[in-house]
Amino acid sequence: MIELILEPRCVRCLACVRVCPNDVLEADGDGLPYVARQQDCCSCFLCEAYCAPDALYVAPEAYPLPGLDAAQLLADGRIGAFRRALGWDQRKPGELDARAGAAPAIQRGHPGSPQDLHRSESYANGINRH
């Protein structure tokens, strides 16, 4: 769940408030975003992806995780890691470079290649086996 908004780094563009698919964030009277509905966050990291100054931290845990140390998360590179992993620190969203691909299991060959044929004669409905 989203845990931190780093006020000193925030440029108040409110991209996070706009892009959150679950309406988790709001802007306060000073134009600063804050977490209004944390329970609706499913840790998709997309607010981080759209946060150019890396002023947000989403913990991967599916429950609140208070007491995180922002200085530590900044120092060890966890803040901004998802944006960098997408390559969005280098380019705009949607302007793909061809390195980005599909999930590995599908990536190996064309669909229908042997790696993708996870068929098994013994698989019926999950009850009969074992």
């Binding site: 698919p21 600063l32 998709c44 991967p60 793909l96 599908i106 669909p111 044929l117 409905n125 009850i127």
Partner: protein, 540 residues
Amino acid sequence: MSTYTEVTTDSGRRIAAGDYEIDHKADVLVIGGSLAGAWAALAAARAGARVVLAEKGWMGTAGVVAAASVGGYYALPDDPAQREGVIGVRHQESRGLDDLGYVERVYDQSYRSFTELRAAGFASARLGAFPGPDSMAFLRRQLLAAKVKILDHSPALELLQTADGAVAGAAGIQRKSGEAWRVRAGAVVLATGGNAFLSGAQGTNGLTGDGYLMGAEAGARLQGMEFSGHYGLTPAEGSCTKGGMYFSGHIYDDAGARLDPLPSWFAVPNVARTLLSGGKAWVVLDKAAPEQHDTHRRQSPNFYQYFSRRGVDPFRQRWPVKLTYEGTVRAAGGLLVDEGCATGVPGLYAAGDVTDRCRLTGAFLSGAGPAVAWCVASGEWAGQGAAAFARALGKGAHARQVKGAGACGLRPGGGATGAGKGPGGRETIARVQEEILPLEKNFFRDGKQLTASLGRLDALWTAARAELSAAGPRELLKAREAAALAASARWIYRAALARTESRGLHRRSDFPEEDPAQRHHLVLSGVDEIRIARREALPA
């Protein structure tokens, strides 16, 4: 920091009374802005329609695709071996309920669509690959370039219908401002996704079965709802249910015994059994060669954030997994559509996970390759169909008298009474979840449990139908989501009770075998009173 004040606009009264602050006209209204909705909107716009797209969240981050990296299947026009392989890839698991001729048509269309996307400048590494956040950002730009009007944070709450039953638009709210909106349209495409029952699975919190409810209220039917017993493998403290990476690993129980004689998805029943008996299940992705680790991390960055942020090496250390319910998202059930993605209700089309996908993958998972192909193929056909329907209506389309078709959560007891009594939206949601989320109730189903759950769900529905409503926009949305969850759970369990066998994603512990005499489809209709009809499967 100042505290947030809930918008106090009486959206509930406005919607129920048909008093809108925002009014649009379109040839085609698309409801839902993930892959299927985006594609439907583009197809309708290419066919010359004026298109409005309304999305509950933000078009670009909403839906399961934006929170994932997926690859869609396609059939190469000139490669018979590849075609045969991909078309038949899930035939065995479909348990006699797929339609290979239709599968071929879908994968031919997805090939054309993926090729068009590439020609439009979408530079994914491989044809059909959809790195989620980039794909949806790219499609948002395409929609704007095609002059599609996008309404973000604008959940549709009900369809608008003419006196003779044609769907002629929808109404909803802008959830941040609280304004009530209406879009009058020649035709509507539902692309609202499946229903994961707010289980918390990454990317699914917006997927609450809204389209099932709106569609069924307008007279559409559903099919395949019983094939909905899938739970996604999930890192134990996290929310990501993506499955592809488990093909690169092993799954063990506490004693170190392998739970994955079959890979990934096929190991789920064994994991469920282990968890149900109080054990734990552990994963290590040790089949991935060290030189591939970076590629894996790059290809599914959201999945690997869980490990990098927690300081775990998923390729070398073992880590516990849980199972998270995915409802109908990667499964089969949904609105029954014909070959052109029409629902049978005039003017109402559907695309993507909101539809039944039995034609594609029968009683089994539609997720990943087939589902992504289906999003673009069904989006293409629904968009074209809706545009043609609107065109045939001509100039009179917006002059039609319309009425809101929404009931439960919106018009309690048949009238608008403002804030309701009885259980509110949140409590209704929690009570539905108690029946549908637990592995104990919904992984291996049995008749007694289903009957007991249905009794409670029916009572909950009756109470919600009589009393559930809300005033403020967010509470109103919750009330409608609660209604959609309750309706979906009732459809799922009603069909599950009627199917006295085990087949694909429907597992009955009291009927553990597949029954050849039940190789048919169950078609559901009705919202308050649910009716079930049989539809024969294609000849074997």
